[in-house]
């Protein structure tokens, strides 16, 4: 049995900053408090940015995001796989070394602790990358629910500056800065290589944008972080790279129907409601939440649908969903203009009988019902190469 004891990680202090905070401010970014983190929401128009331009850069060129606020938990040891299998709903046994998968940590009720990307870094070594707002909660959850396994659980969240380079030109941009042959790294696989002269950097072909792209994990000291950030921007200049904030991060993930914790997934929503069935491997004999999910399958009370506004108006987070008699039937989890699609879109929870594509519904905007329609999701899918 592993004898590694770590103290319970307590609640975070007032406002936290990533190592790139000074760089964002220097670039003139508009800053916002995101789950206790002082983060850029968008960069200034004077450098060609702003949410819409940043969004379009991700879709047509490249965008670079500081995502260091996200958390990193490492599980290593002879029973690391068993530990991951117990807490994660997807099947980590399917991961080859260097492969990653989207998954979620569930409560016994089958609802979400968090969504996560599980990376298999070694024979018995896994890295879980988790949301910023749930860093402490997740670490405590993972540590408390894997004590019975011979496996060390480490919180590496502060050790890394995590930078995401996303978009069709992300690979060309990053290739200029690494000796790794990125053409050999398939989507949702990782490698290690030198980046900007730094040795042995974890390079993952992952992201939260529904585009091709990479996430790199570099040392979290300020000067290294700032240097790498600037070198990526320089390398990507010829392709039209832009620095991107949380504003465009949200509009981009929404077009791709990627869930956001606290919106589409939470501790009161289960896997079936959220439509994340394909990442939940019920054929695994055991994982936390499995039993409750088995029972919940037959009585799903509400389901996540994609909406497009038909009448003028923007559906926003928390707005009520109405049926055509004006009766309240659900709510919007995330809603916004979609800059690439040039539509106003939203995700919402409604009872299953209203979930069919084509169903006409209303969104209550400032006291009035505005017409919307259920549409297929994801709203956006990146074009296949060579097609």
């Amino acid at each position: 049995m592993s004898s590694v004891e770590s103290t319970t990680v307590s609640s975070p202090p007032a406002v936290r900053k990533t190592a790139l905070n000074a760089v964002h401010r220097e670039m003139g970014a508009k800053m916002v408090d995101f789950n206790g983190w002082d983060m850029p929401v968008e960069y200034p128009a004077s450098i060609g940015c702003g949410i819409i331009n940043e969004h379009m850069a991700v879709r047509t060129a490249a965008g670079i995001f500081d995502v260091s606020h996200m958390g990193d938990i490492r599980l290593a040891g002879p029973q690391a796989l068993a530990a991951v299998q117990h807490i994660s709903m997807n099947d980590a046994a399917k991961l080859a070394i260097g492969q990653a998968q989207y998954s979620a940590l569930l409560y016994p009720q089958g609802t979400f602790v968090d969504d996560v990307i599980v990376h298999r870094l070694g024979e018995d070594e896994y890295l879980l990358v988790i949301n910023a707002g749930t860093r402490e909660k997740d670490f405590n959850w993972v540590r408390d629910n894997t004590r019975q396994f011979d496996c060390a659980v480490e919180n590496l969240s502060d050790d890394f500056t995590q930078i995401a380079i996303q978009g069709p030109k992300a690979v060309d941009t990053l290739q200029k800065l690494t000796d790794s042959d990125l053409s050999k790294v398939k989507f949702y696989w990782v490698t290690r290589g030198s980046v900007c002269g730094l040795p042995n950097i974890l390079i993952a072909r992952t992201g939260y944008t529904a585009e091709d792209g990479f996430e790199i994990y570099i040392p979290s000291d300020e000067s290294t972080s700032a240097r790498v950030w600037r070198e990526i921007l320089e390398a990507g200049k010829e392709f039209g790279i832009l620095p991107c904030g949380l504003g465009s991060r949200n509009t981009v993930r929404l077009e791709g129907k990627l869930p956001l914790y606290g919106h589409e997934i939470s501790d009161t929503i289960n896997v079936w409601e959220a439509g994340l069935d394909r990442f939940c491997k019920m054929e695994k004999p055991e994982f936390i939440g499995r039993a409750a999910l088995e029972n919940a399958k037959s009585h799903v009370k509400h389901t996540l649908v994609g909406l497009e506004m038909i009448e003028r108006g923007i559906a926003r987070d928390g707005y009520k969903m109405l049926d055509d008699t004006g009766r309240e039937i659900g709510y919007v989890t995330s809603g916004s203009p979609a800059p690439f699609l040039k539509k106003n879109i939203a995700l919402a929870y409604v009872p299953p009988e209203f979930a069919a594509v084509g169903t006409a519904l209303k969104v209550e905007i400032r006291g009035q019902g505005a017409a919307a329609q259920v549409v297929p999701t994801p709203f956006y899918k990146r074009p296949k190469k060579g097609s």
Binding site: K30, E42, G247, S336, P339
Partner: protein
């Protein structure tokens, strides 16, 4: 920035340009900068009665919804239809993009509003962004 002197300003970052008994309303450069990319402008119909200091519509950026406050009281005589299809014009030319034209009921209300100079000072104190 030097704000145009042919009009007055409110602390809610609207401007009002008066021509006799008619007034034109819009939002300032500071407002459009703070909002970011504007994607939606909602203004009342012709004939609507507006009251000074009360909300008369909304302007939405990608991320947020912002109320518009009437700089003066009156009834709406004209609405800028262009903003329904091209709301970004407000970002591109905030002082040239008007939202509504209003027949004032009490032109005296304007005297309480800020001059270009006073508004610039007000923004300098408020801003720093």
């Amino acid at each position: 920035m030097a704000y145009p002197t042919d009009r007055k300003y409110t602390k809610q970052h609207e401007w009002i340009k008066v021509v006799g008994q008619q007034a034109i309303f819009g939002i300032t450069d500071y407002a459009q900068q703070s909002l970011g990319d504007i994607v939606f402008v909602e203004v009342p119909k012709i004939g609507a009665e507006l009251a000074a200091g009360k909300t008369f519509g909304t302007v939405e950026s990608v991320k947020a919804v912002s109320d518009l406050y009437a700089p003066a009281s009156g009834s709406v005589t004209e609405v800028n239809e262009e903003l329904a299809t091209s709301p970004e014009k407000v970002n591109q030319d905030p002082h040239g993009s008007w939202m509504v034209k209003v027949k004032l009921t009490n032109a005296g209300e304007i005297s309480d509003l800020l001059s270009a100079d006073a508004y610039e000072k007000f923004v300098a104190e408020e801003g720093g962004h």
